[in-house]
Amino acid sequence: MADARALLLWAVTVLLGASYSRNPLYSLLLLLMTLWVYDTAGAADVVSASTGSGRPSPLAPLRFALIAVPLGALFNALTSHFGATVLLRLPAWLPLLGGALTLEALAFGAINGLNLTVIFSGFAAFNQAVATRELLKLTPRAFHESGVVLSIALTFIPQTTHSLHRIREAQAVRGHRLRGLRDWLPIFTPLLVSALERALGLAEAMVARGYASVTDTAQPLRTQGLLALGLLVLLGGWLGYLFTPALRPVLLGVGALGVALMLTALWLAGRGNRHTVYRPRRWRAQDTWIVAGCLLALGTLLSRRAWMVYSPYPQLAWPNFDPLTALGLLGLLVPGLIPAREKTRDAGEMGDE
C-alpha cells in the first residue's frame, strides 16, 4: 500500500482536475483513471485484509455515476431551457419546468454529473486504498487530544455494535419486537447507559496510567496569541480580497501570511506532544512515483487550461481533444499501477518465508 500522504496528494489533484475540466473527454479520462485506481485498491485490499486496510465505500463510483449523470442531465434539461436543438416543449404554465427541453441542456447537466462522479470516485479510491489507522497517523501532533478521541471512538465502535446485537437478542428473548421507532427505546437506553459506564471505566484507567497528569496542559499564551493573530490576518486578507479588487495581489499575500501564522501556531501547539511509532513507515520509491505523477498532472492542468474549457451552448459540438494534455493527465494513473507490482512482490516474499 502506498503512503497515505502521497495518496492524499493524488486525491487532491483529482479534485483539482475535476474542478478545472469542463471538457467531457478529459473528465471521462479522469473518471476511468480513478475507477482503475479504485479497482486496484480493492483488489490489493483482499490480499492485505489482515492489515485492516481499506473500508467499503457506501456507494461504488459506477453506481454513483449511474445516478448522478442521468439525474444531472434530466434536472438541467427540465429547468434550463437554453440551447438550439429542441427535443420537446413542456407547457409554459408549469412553474420552473415549462419551456423547451434541449439537447444542449441535457449535455450540460450530464457533464456536471460526470464531474461530480470524478470527485466522488477519486475520494472513494482514496478511502479504499488508505487504512483507517494510516489516516489517523496523518493527524498533526497539535491535535493530540482529537486523535485520542478518534482512536477511542474507532476502538469502541465494534464493542458498541456487539452490545447493540446482545441487547437486541436479550430484548427479543423477552418478547420485544421492533415494529416502530418507539420500540427502539428499550434497546437504545441500555446501549447508551452501558457505553457511558464503559466511558467511566476508561477515564479511570486513563487517569491511573497518568493521562493528563501534568497540572496545566492548556495552550500557552504565545500559541494562543499567534493563532488569534493568524486568524485575524487571514480574515482581514480574505475580506480585503473580496471588497477591494484593486489590491488583490497584496491582500492575497496578507491571507498567505495569516495561514503561515496559523500553521506556526499549530506547529508550536504540537511541539509538546511527542509522537512515537513502533514501526515507522518508510517513504518508498512507489510514493515518489505517485507524487511525480501528480506533479505532472498538476503542471498539465495549469499549463493547458484552454483545452479543459468546453460548453455545449449554444449548439452541441464535439469537444476538442489534445493528446499531449491527455498524456500529462495520465500521471494520475500511477497509484493504479504500483499496488499490483507490490502485491506480486509481497506474495513472493511470503513465499520465500
Partner: protein
C-alpha cells in the same frame, strides 16, 4: 488573558467559517468585475480550504483547554454510539434526508454545553466518514455544520421540564432544515445548473438570494423536511430518557472530592 484570547479565537474562527459559507451571498456586494470561469472554479476550492482552516483553529483551541480524561472518554464513547447510528443510515437507506445522528448531537450539546456539543458534532461526522469511506472535500463543511448544531444546542435555555422538551423538538426541526440550507452552500457555486438557480460571479445580493431560494426549493426542501420530521420523531422518543441518563452521568463524571 487566556480566556480573552480563547474568546477571540472562537469569534474569529466562527466569523471566518460563517463568512466563507455565506461567500456566494456577500461576494456580489463587492461590486467586483466578473472574471469568468477561473473565479467560478477556484471559489469552491478556496472556500473548502478556508472552512478547513477555521475548523482547525477552533479544534486546536477547544482541545487545548485541558480536556480531562473523563471528557475525552465520554466524548469518544458517545461519538462511537452516534457513529454506529450513522452506519445504520448508510447500510439501510432511510427516507429523504432523515439521519439518526442529529438527535444525539443535539441532546449531548444541550446537556453538556456548547463546547462539548461542537466537538460531538464535528467528531461524529469525522469518525463516521472514516468508517464509511466518506472522507472528501465536503467533510470540513459537514463537520462545521454538525458542530454548530451541537454548539447552538448548548445555548438553549434550561427552562424547566414544561418547556424543555417542546423547545428541543422545535430546535431539532429547525436544524433539520438549517443543515440542508447551510451544507448546500458549499457546492452550490460549483454546480453550473439552470441560469435562474445558479450562482454567478458578480450578481446582486437580491438576485443571488432569489436564485439560491429557487435552487433550494427545487432540489432540497422536500429532502430536508423529511430530515426535520425525522429529527422530531427521534427526539420525541429519545430526548427525555437520554437527557435523564446523560444528566445523571454528568453528575457522576464531575464528582470530585475537595481537599476541604
Amino acid at each position: 488573558m487566556q480566556k480573552l484570547l480563547a474568546g477571540i479565537i472562537y469569534t474569529l474562527s466562527g466569523a471566518l467559517g460563517v463568512l466563507t459559507f455565506l461567500y456566494p451571498f456577500f461576494d456580489p456586494l463587492t461590486g467586483s468585475t466578473p472574471v469568468g470561469d477561473v473565479q467560478q472554479q477556484v471559489a469552491p476550492l478556496l472556500t473548502a480550504a478556508l472552512v478547513g482552516l477555521a475548523l482547525l483553529a477552533l479544534l486546536v483551541e477547544l482541545q487545548g483547554q485541558s480536556l480531562s480524561a473523563k471528557t475525552i472518554a465520554m466524548l469518544g464513547v458517545l461519538v462511537a454510539v452516534t457513529s454506529v447510528l450513522r452506519f445504520i443510515e448508510v447500510a439501510i437507506p432511510l427516507p429523504g434526508g432523515f439521519s439518526p445522528i442529529f438527535a444525539p448531537i443535539i441532546i449531548a450539546g444541550y446537556v453538556f454545553g456548547p463546547r462539548f456539543g461542537f466537538l460531538m458534532g464535528a467528531f461524529t461526522l469525522l469518525t463516521s466518514a472514516l468508517l464509511t469511506g466518506g472522507v472528501g472535500p465536503w467533510l470540513p463543511f459537514q463537520m462545521f455544520t454538525a458542530g454548530w448544531a451541537g454548539m447552538t444546542a448548548g445555548w438553549l435555555p434550561h427552562q424547566g421540564r414544561r418547556w424543555e422538551l417542546p423547545l428541543i423538538y422545535a430546535f431539532g426541526f429547525a436544524w433539520g432544515l438549517l443543515y440542508g440550507v447551510i451544507i448546500n452552500l458549499y457546492f452550490w457555486p460549483f454546480i453550473l445548473g439552470p441560469l435562474d438557480q445558479s450562482w454567478r460571479y458578480g450578481l446582486s445580493l437580491p438576485e443571488t438570494l432569489a436564485r439560491y431560494a429557487a435552487f433550494y426549493a427545487t432540489t432540497s426542501l422536500a429532502w430536508d423536511v423529511i430530515r426535520a420530521i425525522g429529527n422530531v420523531a427521534l427526539l420525541l422518543v429519545l430526548a427525555a430518557p437520554m437527557i435523564k441518563a446523560l444528566t445523571r452521568f454528568r453528575l457522576r463524571f464531575h464528582f470530585e472530592v475537595s481537599r476541604g
